[in-house]
Structures are given as structure tokens and as C-alpha cells.
Symmetry: C2
Subunit: 276 residues, 2 copies
């Protein structure tokens, strides 16, 4: 693991690191914010998964989360959203290929050799993190925005024993029924739709539910509401009688301004569960 940069931030350290990923077969970059409390020992960690077109960098610089993480004493992890490189398959569309890994393991060509974001996020990167940073593996929470909200929900619902708390900002909530999902699942996973179900938060929620605190924020002026389909996740939560806080925030859109506006509450929400 190589240090790309480290900056003092809110009394802690915002770092960017690079490592050779076996899962993705390329160098991968990620960011970690370590709060001041880490000098006294391992701290809880909140995963933040980003959306379409993002790298590790967007949320690190635009979400304002470090302030709250420093106050609450939790670390933040910002992974990239896909493998990257000149020799890695890509597509001209913003919503397929590099920057659009969709948190699945591709089985179809030309994506299969490198697009293993599920394995990367759920298996390889955790090992790198817990080996190299003073993080408490028993105190993990996960969140994300848009495609990253989809990733956070599907990963937490698949590995519930690993996460104490779960939240999302404007998640892609029902990708098997959306153009943000069907196109990518067809490309990465093939046309057999039964293989898509493990990556649809609304289906997983209805089938399995969630054991811990759950918070979802969605802007009412989100320009992508038709693609996000929060109504499917709301229905699954209701059918399941799943304890959850689902908030439709008046006037907010899909931008980082929306996410930044509610980041403090999400970090506090996770901190309460992680220090509880």
C-alpha cells in the first residue's frame, strides 16, 4: 500500500492510498479519514460508497463528513467506484464501465476480468483496511449516495453480521426495474434476470429485512426520482414491518449539496450505533 497524500483535517488525517488489487487486477485508490481519537486506539469505521462517475475523491472533498467524523470519533472510508486504467474495459456512457462498477462482480465479457467491485469492497479492501489502520472491525457502519446507496444497502443486507448501522442518500433502490440497473446488470451479469435479484435492495429488504438502525434520505426535487424508485424500497420496508427512518426532504435534489446538508445527521446516526 502506497500513500498518495495525507492532509491534516479537523485534528485528524485525511489520507489517500493506492494498492494493487487482486480482485480488480489493477491499482485501486481509496481514501481514509482517521479522526483525532485514533491516537488512543482503534476507532469505529463508516464506509461511504459513491455514485456514478465518482472516484474516491468526490465525497472526500465535497461531503463535509470529516468535521462530523472528528467530533464523533469515527473513521471514514471512501473507495473508488470501479477499476480504472487504459487497459480496462470502458464505455462512452457515464453509467457503464469506469466510474460505474455498480458494486457487482461481472461475469460477462468484456467486463469480467476486472469489474469485481463486490469482491473488492466486501473482501479485499476490508483486509487492507484492518491490516493498515487502527480500525475496530467489530464497529462498522455503511452508507452511500445513489449507486453507492445501492451498494451500501445490498452489501449490508447480504452481510448483516458485519454492520451495526445502515443508511443511504437517494439510493438506486430497485435497479432490476430501472434503467439505472437493467442496462448495467445485463452488461455485467448477463440477461438471466434471476441473477440480478441479489443486487436489488428492495428485493433483499422484502426477503431478509435488516437487524439494526436504518436511515434513508431522499430529496423531493431529485431529478432522478424515476430512476431511483424509492417507492419500491418504501413498500418493501412497509411490507416487512422493518424499523426504519425514511425521509423525503422537501426541495432537495440529487447533488452533493443535498448530501452535505444531511451528512451530520447520518454520521451522528452511525456513531450512536457504533459506540452504543
Amino acid at each position: 500500500m502506497e500513500t498518495v497524500s495525507e492532509n491534516r483535517a479537523f485534528g485528524g488525517t485525511q489520507g489517500v492510498y493506492k494498492h494493487k488489487s487482486e480482485a480488480c487486477g489493477c491499482d485501486m485508490t481509496f481514501a481514509v479519514y482517521m479522526p483525532p481519537q485514533a491516537k488512543d486506539g482503534p476507532v469505529p469505521v463508516l464506509w461511504y460508497l459513491s455514485g456514478l462517475t465518482c472516484t474516491h475523491e468526490n465525497a472526500m472533498t465535497k461531503a463535509g463528513a470529516q468535521e462530523y467524523a472528528a467530533r464523533e470519533g469515527i473513521a471514514l472510508v471512501f473507495p473508488d467506484t470501479s477499476p480504472r486504467g487504459e487497459n480496462i474495459a470502458n464505455d462512452d456512457a457515464y453509467d457503464l464501465g469506469q466510474g460505474a462498477g455498480f458494486y457487482v462482480d461481472a461475469t460477462e465479457e468484456p467486463w469480467a476480468p476486472h469489474y469485481k467491485m463486490w469482491t473488492y469492497i466486501t473482501d479485499e479492501l476490508p483486509k487492507v483496511l484492518f491490516r493498515n489502520f487502527k480500525l475496530d472491525e467489530e464497529a462498522q457502519g455503511i452508507t452511500g449516495h445513489s449507486m453507492g446507496g445501492h451498494g451500501a444497502l445490498t452489501i449490508a443486507l447480504t452481510y448483516p453480521e458485519r454492520f451495526r448501522s445502515l443508511s443511504a442518500f437517494a439510493p438506486i433502490a430497485n435497479p432490476t426495474q430501472s434503467d439505472w440497473g437493467r442496462k448495467q446488470f445485463t452488461a455485467y451479469l448477463g440477461s438471466d434476470e434471476s441473477r440480478w435479484r441479489a443486487h436489488d435492495a428492495s428485493i433483499l429488504m422484502e426477503e431478509k429485512g435488516w437487524h439494526g438502525p436504518l436511515l434513508i434520505d431522499q430529496g423531493t426535487n431529485d431529478q432522478f426520482l424515476d430512476l431511483l424508485k424509492p417507492e419500491a424500497l418504501a413498500a418493501a420496508i412497509a411490507k416487512r414491518r422493518q424499523p426504519a427512518i425514511l425521509r423525503f426532504q422537501e426541495g432537495y435534489d440529487h447533488s452533493y449539496f443535498f448530501m452535505a446538508s444531511f451528512m451530520e445527521e447520518h454520521v451522528a446516526f452511525h456513531a450512536e450505533a457504533l459506540y452504543g
Copy 2:
């Protein structure tokens, strides 16, 4: 004036606007954050001037200032740092030409026709702002980062009656004695150094002082300390017996992580003066 975008943020509105600038002879873009309190009438305003290479956009998305402005009930203005366009003079260096206006009115070719950032920021943009937004002209504060800290200091010291409060993050404090200054003043203002003095915060501070609250933050690990010359401004403040808070923040560098870490205190500092 044309609206480029408006996003709900922290209960208020983050807008980006474009207008034809007479001073600069081109379209200029700026950002304004209006806090929720603006619905009840005019609010105080804090000017934020950005540093080298920045547009209106960097601080708007990376400084985290909207949260604090919403809490305190003050508006934020983020101007651009130079004229821009294909037909506008430029230079290959990052520290001259577009993105590097240095908050002066150029008198020398090829810069003179468009590089009028002093007039733009002190005369033209205020008129646009107070005509179009519910802002209290009697309650203005000013701050900035690096080159923008230089701009904030020199503008406030030149128009003290206009500003109630003044702060800066890692300002270029003594440009007449720095490679961040001498090169640009020679290009924009010519080689007669007597014409540079009006644009050097340390000289102005020693000669004129400042009537109100003054806060300056500087990171001790700033990679540009030799160019910023905080010691010159500190000496001027000391000689003048100028009331001021001058803080050297251990371990912080020149990045937005430094600035974001102390933005809350700067916004609160201005709010106290502007609502006082």
C-alpha cells in the same frame, strides 16, 4: 444576470449566476449562498475570495461553509478569480493569467483590456449583488484563501468603511517581496514598484491598520510558507499594535482540508461582527 444553477442546501439555496461584466469585458460567473433566514428579509453577507487556479466553484463545493452560514444566518459570495474565455489573454503558468487575477486592475499589455479584478470585486459585483439578492449592504465581512486572502486583506484595508469584519486563511501576506506577487505585479502593473504598494497587505496594515475584528489562520506545515510570508504581516500587526487574532495551526497545510477545518470558526467570527 442569468441563473446557471440553484440547489437547496442546508435549508437555503446555493446558486450559481452569470452576467456580462463591463469591468472585465467578458461573462463572469459567481456563486451566492442564501441562508434560510433570507426569507424574512435582507441578511448579512460574507465575501469569500479564492486562491490561484480557483473558480467560483472550489470553495462553494469544498469549504463546507454553507452549513455554518445557514446556522448563523449570513449569505456567502464566491466570485471567480479572473476574467475567462478563449479571447482573453492567458499564460501557461498556473500563477499568471486566467485563474490568477491577483485582485488588481492591470495596466500593462496584454492584460489591461480584461484583467480588472479590483474594479470587478470592489465596484461592479457589489452592485449586481445588492440589486439582485436580499443582502444587507451595511453588514458585510470579507475573507479569502491564499491569493484570495491577499485580496480580502487589501480590499478591506482600502475600503474599511465597507466591511465590519476581516479574516483570511493562509493569505499571500507580503506579495511585493514574494515570487507570488513580484512576477504578477510586474506583468499586470508594470515594473514601477511604487505602484505595487497599494496591493500589499503587510504595507497597508503597517500604514493604515484596521478598525474591526481581524482573524488570520496559517498552517504550520503549509508547503508555501516561504511564498506567503506571514511573518511580514505579523510584524506589521505588532508594530501597529493592531488588535488581531493570528493563529499558526499545527500540522495543517495549504489545502482545502486546512481551510474547511477552520471555516466554522471564521463564519462564526464574522457572524458575531455582522449581527453585533
